[in-house]
């Protein structure tokens, strides 16, 4: 397994000059580059605590920075900027401004649990990724990701009826994210399936769309879950020093 390291030198801070002579010494070209120094002064000393207060982030303090999470990461393999080990480092040292440079990709964790499987310290890096994505949204650094919108649409249906119906979740998700449902690849799938399917199948899918599947006698569970979730959200906002919306 290769070791994926993250350079702290930003490419845009590297200064190479085609022709430069300093005090009579030729320092032209790439063999002698300059790095623009930068100083971090805006540490957020509460960053680790705030992440730890959100679901999934509780065990971040256990990290030893071995890098097993990044080495095993599914998303890192297709985007080297996706680096859980590095983000955990930034959170624990309070380097918020550095973390914010990657704010638009952190939500892309696919929850494959390879990191949690590999982690020798039981940090549950997958949970830390979810907590960090949630933190970015609560603090207003990022808009709600498509993934968060999907999770909310899904959870709302489960809480309301006890069950979900695939078609309804998909339609709700596309509507909330403003995407057309008739994308060429989705249409192609429908065509391929329709070619072989008997009428009964279409009829059953149609019925499922009309009559929502639901768990009987779910109202009390729905109310108890809603009450608990609202309580937790208020606690989380408090831990982040945010005012409650309700």
């Amino acid at each position: 397994m290769p070791i994926h390291e993250k350079s702290l030198i930003r490419p845009e801070n590297i200064r190479a000059q085609d022709k430069l002579i300093v005090d009579g010494v030729d320092v032209s070209g790439h063999w002698s580059t300059f790095i623009e120094p930068r100083v971090v002064t805006d540490y957020n000393e509460r960053l680790e605590e705030e992440i730890a207060a959100l679901p999934g982030g509780e065990l971040i303090h256990r990290c030893w920075q071995c890098g097993s999470c990044t080495n095993s990461c599914t998303v890192n393999a297709i985007n080297p900027d996706f680096n859980p080990r590095y983000w955990i480092y930034l959170i624990r040292t309070g380097m918020e401004s550095e973390l914010l440079r990657d704010k638009d990709i952190i939500w892309q964790c696919v929850s494959c649990h390879k990191c949690t499987y590999a982690c020798p310290r039981d940090v549950v890096p997958e949970g830390v990724m979810k907590a960090t994505a949630r933190w970015l949204e609560l603090q207003g650094h990022t808009p709600k990701s498509k993934s968060a919108i999907f999770d909310e649409e899904f959870t709302e249906q489960v809480v309301q009826t006890g069950m979900i119906e695939d078609g309804r979740v998909i339609r709700g998700f596309f509507a909330k994210t403003g995407q057309p449902l008739l994308q060429n690849w989705l249409v192609e799938i429908a065509k391929r399936v329709a070619r072989r399917l008997p009428v009964m199948f279409g009829l059953r899918m149609g019925l499922a769309a009309l009559f929502r599947p639901r768990t009987r006698g779910w109202t009390k569970a729905r109310d108890a879950i809603t009450e608990y979730v609202e309580e937790q959200e208020a606690l989380q906002r408090k831990a982040l020093g945010l005012r409650n919306t309700k």
């Binding site: 696919v110 999907f150 489960v158 069950m163 072989r196 608990y228």
Partner: protein, 308 residues
Amino acid sequence: MKTEYKRVAYYPGCALEGTGHAYNKSTREVGKALGLELDEVKNWNCCGAMEVKNIDPKVQTYLSSRVLSIAANEMGAQVVMAPCNGCYHNLKKAEHELAHDAGSRDVVDRISRKAGHATYAAGQVETIHALDWIKDGIGEVELKRRVRNSLKGLKIANYYGCMYTRPRHIFPEKDQGAGTESTSQPHFMDDLLAAAGAENVDFPLKTACCGGAHVLSDSDTSTKLVLNILRAAEAAGADVIATECPTCHSGLEMHQVRAEKVLGEKTKVRMLYFTQLLGIALGLSPRKLSVHENVSDGIAVLKEKGLA
């Protein structure tokens, strides 16, 4: 063999009522053909899937615990079988959390009381996957004896996905030596399909991720991950990828089409649920196993190989 697997409480879950209908149908048909009985969990609810935990993990634990509670306390079941990797994973996770985390126990107890049902206590039932059900309820020897239509000549890449083996700590019965499932190199599906006569290819991406969690919210990532799996299966010489999870199955099928439409990358390998393949071997008709409901043309590959 485990005689308690002969009759189990069956938790199909939401996906098997929708996109994974063919998996539900073929699981029931194979059970019938093998004399394994299924009692559907009464008035079940969603386990929380991949989504609810991102809103609150303890709510997910509650949702899964309600299913276990009904099986244990209202049906008197000893074993709950879930064919969906997501459901199976969540039930296992709930079991683990309830056994080890007092905070989860408190929340589950509080919501269960308010919802008006008995609180599930860790250890009341055993949760198993459809693979365990057939592997330990019937076994390869008996399965081999019942094969009417051997899968001989069919090359299969067995794809297990993420949720069946990871993270290790929620599957205490795995990695326990001979006869148990391995979390790094799972083999139960390979064993069953080999008993059905198929040739399993050496497939390195058995437990790779298909991006199922972001199938729609981050389609480009999912398409790349799926294409990787499809190409690896083809490079290994597979005609078919055998699946054991409705999310993986539809993820592979949907993004095979998306890769073709959006990236112009065409792959030929077909996806079939392992229960569909076992059913074919047991002499059931493809229609009975709902092979025609698959997006990728499973019927064509079965015809090519003289199996249908």
